[in-house]
Symmetry: C2
Subunit: 122 residues, 2 copies
């Protein structure tokens, strides 16, 4: 069941936040920000086994944070950061509780973004 237009489901947020809750996975995402990487390349910086990395990749995939490709024997992973936007969106509701006057600037941002989006058909 795909959500349509109402943002990610609570279950999606569960998966996204849970995926981000592990330091190895966060490091993997940081690595992927530099570009595609094979499983081996992702495993290299860590002392844990290759199967452990494959498991982490599966967690990241289920959260939608990573997509896989096929390149001969390799199954390179590439970053898909969009689900992070959903996480930030959820958190942003609370921004007023730590935001000083930062709030106002943020509202400006949202407004500008909204105006920009009016151009698209969505």
């Amino acid at each position: 069941m795909e959500q349509i237009g109402y943002g990610k489901s609570s279950a999606d947020l569960d998966a996204i936040f849970a995926a981000l809750a592990d330091p190895t996975r966060r490091a993997m995402l940081t690595r992927l920000a530099e570009g595609e990487a094979s499983v081996g390349e992702l495993a290299a910086p860590f002392q844990i086994s290759q199967p452990a990395i494959s498991k982490h990749l599966k967690v990241l995939e289920k959260a939608g944070l990573v997509e896989r490709a096929i390149d001969e024997q390799r199954r390179p992973a590439r970053l898909n950061a969009e689900p992070m936007a959903e996480a930030v969106e959820w958190i942003n509701y609370f921004k007023r509780f730590w935001g000083d006057s930062f709030d106002q600037l943020d509202e400006l941002l949202v407004t500008l973004k909204a105006q920009k989006e009016e151009g698209k058909d969505e």
Copy 2:
């Protein structure tokens, strides 16, 4: 061991993201955004037991997202959203991967915030 000036440790991010990964806890935080609430008040909307709520509160406390007070028999919880800022900060590194030209505005924000913080002693 308190971190000083270098942002939260990875362990802190673990705790923060993990705390946010549970829908009951997210709902509790949303409730607390409306103001302090006793354990009973927090438990009311859910079908789970009071001890389960107490456990969730402990998870939120360890993540620093909630602080407790003492009010006669009650142990009201109040929101402390600041750790969420650390989470967003971490995620923001990835913003360029989903942000359109939103980036530039965001950089402006960061700059302005930084300038503002120069005024404080920190």
